[in-house]
């Protein structure tokens, strides 16, 4: 048998074959519909604890800063967070620092608000999107009214019971940032840095490790990281949702990644070894 040729063919495998493997690794577990179980991490528990301090009537600022690309990871967090807030009788002011976020979030929260019998304008308000991230974060400190004279639906903010008397960060008991990356850093620097308001964050998986140091400094009280964070939060709320189910597919794809890295390296080492042996 021609070993060098076999090994070489592994290294030069068509990338479309790898694409197919990835597709299968995601699709098959989804078809099996297996629900994973997870053990919550400290950071997720801290996130939950942060939300637990809310009482009846407290106002929470939720900033949903992500685009459609991260929706499958972050929408479950928004759903779980809104459910948690409404269950506690707290109220929600939502905005988005990504234009795309507006289209994703309003419908989601609307559904949950209906489920918990919450009225728009009294229990929650959607402010919409504004450009220039640092400016918006800083401007909310004084009052949302100058930046958002109207909400996303065109209502005057001064006429809605929830927002009529809002006067900057001191009126918010908690700030929750759900972000795919672009703005979480800005919230730490401009939002927490300037006003020291309690803040929790739901981050897409990729940026989680980079933000761990802000958790240690208490600049962020607690974080949910990626799909796993969302799944842990769902489990703590006893709210079986999409995240818990998707986690199984995630597990298998991780294994595929590990296998690919290992096979890639073994084939490389083998090629080198064979080359040396034949010389």
């Amino acid at each position: 048998m021609d070993y060098p040729a076999v090994v070489a063919s592994i290294t030069k495998i068509d990338r479309r074959f790898i694409y197919l493997l990835v597709g299968l690794a995601v699709a098959i577990p989804l078809l099996l519909a297996h629900q994973a179980e997870v053990e919550p991490t400290e950071e997720s528990m801290a996130f939950h604890a942060g939300v637990s301090t809310l009482g009846e009537g407290d106002v929470v600022l939720l900033s949903t800063d992500y685009h459609a690309g991260s929706a499958s990871e972050l929408n479950p967090m928004v759903r779980a967070f809104a459910t948690d807030v409404f269950r506690r009788g707290a109220r929600l002011v939502v905005l988005s620092l990504n234009a795309q976020g507006t289209g994703l979030v309003e419908a989601e929260i609307n559904k949950i608000a209906a489920e918990y019998d919450r009225t728009y304008g009294v229990d929650w308000v959607f402010l919409g999107f504004r450009p220039s991230t640092p400016a918006v974060i800083l401007a909310l400190s004084a009052s949302p009214h100058s930046l958002f004279p109207q909400d996303f639906r065109g209502n005057e903010l001064a006429e809605l019971p929830l927002t009529a008397h809002l006067n900057g960060y001191r009126d918010f008991s908690l700030i929750c940032v759900i972000s795919s990356g672009a703005t979480a850093q800005d919230w730490v620097i401009y939002g927490h840095g300037r006003f020291q308001c309690p803040m929790v964050a739901g981050l897409s998986g990729g940026i989680g490790p980079a933000f761990q140091s802000f958790v240690d400094t208490h600049q962020i009280a607690g974080v949910l990281v990626g799909l796993r964070g969302a799944a842990e939060y769902e489990q703590m709320l006893e709210l079986p949702g999409e995240a818990l189910r998707a986690l199984f597919a995630q597990s298998l794809t991780h294994m595929l990644f590990v296998a690919l890295i290992v096979i890639g390296n073994i084939s490389l080492l083998a090629t080198r070894w064979i080359e040396n042996a034949m010389r």
Binding site: V26, A27, L30, F129, G205, G206, G208, L227, Q250, H254
Partner: protein
């Protein structure tokens, strides 16, 4: 299979985008260009219709406030930007850019110091030692911070003990980058799961 257009249309474009995995093709290109136009238009409407117009109409409708005259300055500069976009270069556009950069820098300066420098410095100054897990971890973190900082040196090549620090800094960075890479892969996988779930559940009804 679903026949609802609100499911079918997204399904078609989803598959059109996936077609790039097989090879470069005109359908993918077409969908991509359509997406660019849609995204630009979407952002434009949100900014103009929900942001600019209510603000301006409020400023015009409200009783005269001397301080709102100050808003005319950036407004003029903004108009200068629009004019330069259609080919009329004006000095106003230079003021707009310079002003925005200056305000941005001024706002950022103390906050960068606070959030990225002072807070992070303070967090490293905790009691450490080998007798407890917490102390040990704090020690490792402190060593990592100091070596990573030593890795970047711009005035002269690190030599001797500094070179040792710099090398350790490189290894520390690699550990952090490895961890981040893995988490990033994780987050991207989730996106794909979202799309597959849409296709398998909403379009083809293969899963509940």
């Amino acid at each position: 299979m679903s026949t609802d257009p609100s499911i079918l249309i997204p399904a078609v474009v989803t598959l059109a985008v996936f077609s790039i995995l097989y090879r470069e093709n005109p359908v993918f290109r077409a969908v991509e260009r359509l997406g660019v136009g849609l995204a630009a238009g979407y952002a434009f409407i949100l900014i103009v219709r929900t942001g600019l117009i209510p603000r301006l109409s409020k400023a015009l409708g409200a009783p005269f406030d001397p301080s709102s005259v100050l808003l005319l300055l950036p407004l003029a500069a903004g108009i200068g930007l629009v004019m330069s976009a259609v080919g009329h270069r004006t000095q106003l556009a230079r003021f707009a850019v310079a002003g925005a950069a200056a305000i941005g820098a001024g706002l950022a300066l103390p906050l960068l110091m606070q959030a990225l420098v002072l807070s992070q410095m303070k967090a490293s100054m905790v009691p450490m030692g080998l007798s407890s897990v917490v102390g040990f971890n704090a020690l490792v973190i402190a060593i990592c911070v100091l070596t990573t900082m030593a890795y970047f040196s711009f005035t002269r090549e690190p030599t001797g003990i500094r070179a040792l620090f710099a090398i350790s800094g490189l290894y520390t960075l690699m550990i952090a980058f490895g961890a981040t890479f893995a988490s990033l892969a994780m987050s991207r996988i989730t996106l794909l799961i979202g799309r597959f779930l849409f296709l398998l559940r909403d379009v083809f009804h293969l899963v509940q």
